[in-house]
């Protein structure tokens, strides 16, 4: 039942107007519930239920719920509400699934998603003899991907940087950067780039990711050439799409 509910909300959250409704943002752009004043009871309930599903022990449930949050985060009007719900748990989710040094980057299997907003949390089932563990690994990859996508989108808003960094987003993004899944790593790179795009955030970002960004610093014996920050200073880079990594700069 909860899986169906999570899948439903993931699909509904792909619509731009629905994003505002789910997040409790009125059409004027101000938040009308949850983290701010004048709470709307209906949308506050949806928020609580969505966060509860995202924290679920069921991987499919959590994956779809986090995917829905990531969809909401594509619209910056929802960011204040998302962070009001306690988005620091997203960082915790990413860090919980971070690979150990022995495991490397974790599973690399891409999730199967259809063109019409197929949910990221579909189990890869074994009609062809595929073992159940492959499905679970794919689910973990999907979950971390969606968490990273959400954090990267939230990082595209300068107003959220302080809360994100306080919630451990930089640590989580650096962890995601090390994943074998190329899409997750790309989302993480974008998120870190967004964080570094604000002057005040560079120091914090460098504190966590100095081995990656400071020119000349060796990582694993390799030296990095000085990187150009021109691309990193472009704000409002959003990670869109559940199945591919299309980037859109807001107008």
């Amino acid at each position: 039942m909860r899986r169906e509910a999570a899948r439903l909300l993931f699909a509904l959250s792909l619509n731009e107007l629905n994003k505002l409704d789910v997040a409790g943002v009125d059409m004027g752009g101000s938040s009308s519930g949850g983290g701010g004043g004048g709470a709307n009871p209906a949308t506050a309930e949806v928020a609580n239920d969505l966060v509860a599903l995202a924290r679920s022990d069921d991987p499919s449930c959590a994956c779809n719920a986090v995917g829905a949050l990531a969809n909401l985060s594509e619209n910056d009007a929802t960011h204040e509400r998302l962070l009001g719900w306690g988005a620091s748990f997203l960082s915790e989710l990413a860090l919980e699934n971070a690979p150990t040094p022995d495991e490397g980057g974790g599973g690399g299997a891409a999730n199967k998603e259809d063109a019409n907003g197929g949910s990221p949390g579909e189990m890869v089932e074994g009609g062809d003899g595929q073992p159940a563990t492959e499905g679970m690994r794919s689910m973990e990859v999907g979950l971390v991907r969606e968490v990273t996508r959400c954090l990267a989108n939230l990082a595209g808003n300068y107003a959220t940087h302080e809360k994100l960094l306080d919630g451990g987003a930089a640590d989580a993004l650096v962890g995601s950067l090390k994943r074998e899944d190329a899409v997750t790593a790309r989302f993480a790179a974008l998120g870190l780039a967004n964080l570094a795009g604000q002057v005040g955030g560079i120091v914090s970002t460098l504190h966590f990711g100095y081995k990656l960004f400071v020119p000349g610093t060796s990582v694993g014996g390799q030296s990095f050439k000085p990187c150009s920050y021109s691309w990193a200073l472009t704000p409002w880079l959003f990670c869109r799409g559940a199945s591919n990594c299309r980037l859109f700069a807001s107008p």
Partner: protein
């Protein structure tokens, strides 16, 4: 047998009851074309639109069960059952509403038909089913709404119909399974001392 040709109205409820039982027992599936030919969707729709609550319920149950067979859905829609189903759902008793909602769930299995169901106003029935107290009904309706929401053109309409409430109810569902555990066998009694 055409129920509308019965000379006495007293037989009509019995005929309808027989139709319902046939549909429930799966007899329709054995020879669906013959069943539809004998019954005629138009007659079922006329009973669905009847002022009599019993007739309406029987009509809804039979149409719903016929619609559970994907191969029989086209004749139902061609017979003009869709609009009456949705219209009656707004003014019927709870059980009839439930049967009609299940009919819409079955008819929504065809993606080409979902737009018509939405434009005719079928979403409130599905939302009501998704907000019911029965977990099986809830899950069936949530799955149907999810299938409808797969089409980008329908997502906004689904939310405007009240799907967020259905989502919340489904998200909070807690299954209360009954655990069964075997009592451990008692230890064997001590052997009596040998005399």
């Amino acid at each position: 047998m055409d129920p509308t040709k019965q000379k006495t109205h007293k037989r009509i409820p019995q005929v309808l009851a027989a139709l319902c039982n046939l549909s429930l027992s799966g007899c329709i599936g054995q020879d669906p074309a013959r069943f539809l030919k004998a019954v005629d969707v138009g007659n079922l729709v006329s009973f669905l639109c009847s002022a009599d609550v019993t007739y309406r319920l029987f009509g809804a149950v039979t149409l719903g069960n016929i619609a559970s067979d994907v191969s029989l859905q086209a004749p139902i829609v061609r017979g003009g059952a869709l609009t009456p189903l949705i219209t009656i759902a707004n003014a019927a008793d709870l059980e009839t509403q439930r049967c009609i909602a299940y009919s819409l769930c079955n008819l929504s299995a065809n993606p080409a038909r979902r737009g018509a169901i939405i434009s005719e106003g079928g979403l409130p029935s599905l939302i009501s089913l998704a907000c019911s107290d029965h977990p099986v009904d809830q899950r069936a309706a949530l799955a149907t709404l999810r299938a409808i929401a797969a089409d980008p053109d329908h997502r906004r309409a689904v939310v405007e119909a009240g799907a967020l409430e259905a989502f919340s109810l489904g998200a909070r569902y807690a299954s209360h399974g009954v655990g069964v555990s075997a009592c451990p066998s008692p230890p064997p009694p001590p052997l009596p001392p040998k005399t």
